[in-house]
């Protein structure tokens, strides 16, 4: 599905959006549309321009060029207080001078809703976020997660066309963050609102979103469903940023119908396939990405034998994490390290450091991307 095309009723749409700070380009010709009811995430490393996009949508920043449409209408000349979108700020920005109920009522009062309706709406919102009867509480009396929910409820009672969330979980501890992921998703369906969610944490984006845009240095690298991004990354950046990967750098030796053969500087040779729309020729510098779960691990050579690519090495550490346990293996010939997912069968439960293991993976699991700089060194993740 191509979300950049204006062929559907989008709640929110950006066309060729650009934002310069002086000569620095923070957002570089970004186009996307968010369908109604979607949970849309923008995922990217710190400083890539995520907040800048969001602030342009909310109306706090004027785009250098491009257009922003909400429900099909351009909002470029609409001030923030008139835009039918609301924002949950990175540090929540709850009003400390008001109590919980007043915080939620703030926007309703501004909309001119009458008093009795305001308190009814506030109470129902408090109920929906699991804080009934907490209206009189001071903001500081709430836990981090409760504050989070109030900040979101404060926007959602206004029934915005879309809710913009700027890394709202960033300030929470890990455990709460895991919990809030589920909670957020629940709130979205409860209030039935379009969410535009910003994060640099790929797991947040993958777990919650219907669609994710991966952003890097002001540009969108790829827009798609989480599965799309994970299994069919279009660029080396997406492959590296979304999920874990083992990575090699090398040059193309051979090209044929099934794929390519690549050899690294250390003289190891692999079979791989060009990823996405890559067109590769002999002599091109490429990066190869292999997911840890695609690597098959075996005690003896026979099982790995069926694989297109084969290696052996010694375990240098075992990272036990229940179902997600991993082993770190030093490859024999090149001395590079590989991240390998351990099968959940328990077959490798007594894998010991220093033990020799055999590794292998299919050609189709090794995705090759052209590497423009050419001399990137590197192996492993």
């Amino acid at each position: 599905m191509d979300l950049a095309k204006n062929n559907k009723s989008f709640d929110l749409e950006c066309r060729d959006l650009r934002c310069n700070f002086g000569s620095f380009v923070a957002v570089d010709n970004v186009s996307f549309g968010v369908p109604e009811g979607d949970f849309f995430s923008i995922l990217g490393p710190s400083g890539c321009g995520k907040t800048t996009i969001l602030r342009m949508m909310a109306g706090f920043l004027e785009p250098t060029s491009g257009d922003i449409l909400i429900k099909g209408k351009s909002v470029l000349n609409v001030p923030p207080n008139k835009r039918p979108v609301n924002m949950v700020f990175q540090h929540l920005a709850l009003f400390p001078m008001m109590n919980v109920a007043e915080n939620i009522a703030y926007g309703l009062i501004r909309q001119g809703v009458n008093k009795s309706d305001v308190s009814a709406k506030v109470n129902s919102a408090l109920e929906r976020i699991g804080l009934p009867g907490s209206g009189e509480k001071n903001i500081k009396q709430l836990s981090g997660g409760q504050q989070q929910r109030v900040a979101i409820a404060r926007c959602l009672v206004l029934e915005p066309a879309a809710l913009l969330l700027d890394e709202p979980l960033g300030a929470l501890d890990l455990k709460l963050r895991e919990h809030m992921k589920v909670e957020l998703k629940k709130m979205q369906s409860q209030f039935d609102t379009t969410f535009v969610y910003i994060t640099h944490d790929q797991s947040e984006a993958l777990v919650m979103s219907n669609h994710v845009a991966v952003m890097n240095e002001g540009r969108f690298e790829q827009i798609g469903t989480p599965q799309d991004l994970y299994y069919n990354p279009n660029t080396a950046f997406v492959a590296g940023f979304v999920g874990e990967s083992n990575r090699w750098h090398g040059r193309v030796d051979e090209v044929d119908a099934t794929g390519i053969r690549v050899s690294t500087a250390e003289g190891v040779s692999f079979l791989a396939v060009p990823a996405g729309k890559e067109r590769l020729a002999v002599g091109d510098a490429v990066d190869i990405f292999v997911r840890p779960e695609s690597v098959v691990i075996a005690h003896d050579e026979t099982r790995a034998h069926e694989m297109d690519n084969r290696l052996s090495g010694n375990v240098i550490s075992v990272l036990f994490n229940g179902a997600n346990s991993r082993a770190l293996v030093r490859e024999g010939r090149s001395g590079g390290e590989l991240d390998v997912a351990l099968p959940q069968t328990g077959e490798f439960s007594n894998l010991a450091v220093g033990q020799k293991v055999f590794l292998g993976w299919d050609q189709a699991q090794a995705k090759a991307f052209a590497c423009p700089s050419g001399n990137n060194q590197g192996q492993g993740t």
Partner: protein
């Protein structure tokens, strides 16, 4: 001697000058003043205990009118200072960054590089009939003859506001600085306009700064002596000038001391009322 004793001794030694200072320079003179205010001269060098001096304040309309005038002018000057200082402080705290911010802040300090007397004379040179502004007005044709801008209450107000500016700007900038931009943005984002954001978010946040600024400015203005005397007109009276007159030119320490205590009591009452009205506490605003 063990270490905790040594530490305590050190603390006492450190605090001693402060306590001596408080005792010698603040408390003792006040007790002395109180005793003086409670006596009445009956003959040369003969005094009697009495409340006559306090009674004098309430029975002689001149004195309490002077006080009322001083209080009203001080309250107005405080309000005016706040009105002018608030946007200035907001601009310094929220709109400016880096060097320019420091520079503008420093600009508020400029009036304090010269003494109050010199500052007041500066205003006189500018505003008098034969002064700079009058000449400029005539030169540009805006006025046909000399314009006298000195010797009226508006001039006193200008002088008082000018002198007080810094004492309002400093606490305001400090509190406004601590206001997160995102709160203001959230205020707009949720549908507020400039006025509602100011009323519901910025002012409540700045309240401690507003209150402490107002208290300091009010007290300084009330206690000002030179500005109202030099810039004021023939009928300009100021309560501290009245105290000075009683002490120095009338040799009437008894009445002067009584006035001093009345000023202390009445101004405290005004500040207390102000705090009650704005629902703030002193420790909050001064903390």
């Amino acid at each position: 001697m063990n270490t905790s004793n040594a530490a305590r001794l050190g603390l006492i030694l450190l605090l001693a000058p402060l306590l001596v200072w408080l005792l010698a320079l603040v408390i003792l003179p006040h007790i002395d003043m109180l005793l003086i205010s409670l006596r009445e001269r009956v003959a040369p060098q003969v005094y009697e205990r009495s409340f006559a001096n306090y009674a004098e304040f309430f029975t002689e309309p001149l004195y309490w009118r002077t006080f009322a005038r001083t209080a009203i002018m001080s309250i107005s000057a405080t309000a005016l200072t706040l009105l002018i200082a608030f946007p200035v402080s907001y601009y310094i705290a929220k709109m400016l960054r880096g060097r320019l911010k420091g520079f503008l802040f420093l600009l508020c300090l400029v009036p304090f590089w010269v003494s109050e007397l010199v500052r007041t004379f500066g205003w006189m040179i500018l505003l008098r009939e034969s002064g700079v502004i009058s000449n400029v007005l005539q030169w540009t044709g805006l006025a046909d003859g000399p314009v006298e801008m000195l010797y009226n209450d508006a001039t006193i107000m200008v002088g008082l506001v000018y002198t007080s500016m810094l004492f309002m700007v400093v606490p305001l900038v400090t509190t406004l600085d601590s206001l997160e931009d995102s709160l203001v943005e959230a205020g707009y984002d949720l549908g507020g306009n400039g006025l509602t954001v100011l009323r519901t978010i910025i002012i409540p946040h700045a309240m401690p700064g507003i209150v402490s600024g107002c208290i300091v400015v009010f007290m300084l203005t009330l206690g000002n002596y030179l500005t109202p005397i030099l810039l004021g007109g023939k009928s300009s009276m100021w309560f501290t000038a009245q105290i000075y007159t009683q002490f120095i030119t009338r040799f009437n320490w008894e009445l002067g001391a009584a006035f001093g205590f009345l000023l202390l009591a009445l101004s405290s009452a005004i500040v207390w009322t102000g705090l009650k009205l704005s629902r703030q506490t002193l420790s909050e605003s001064m903390g």
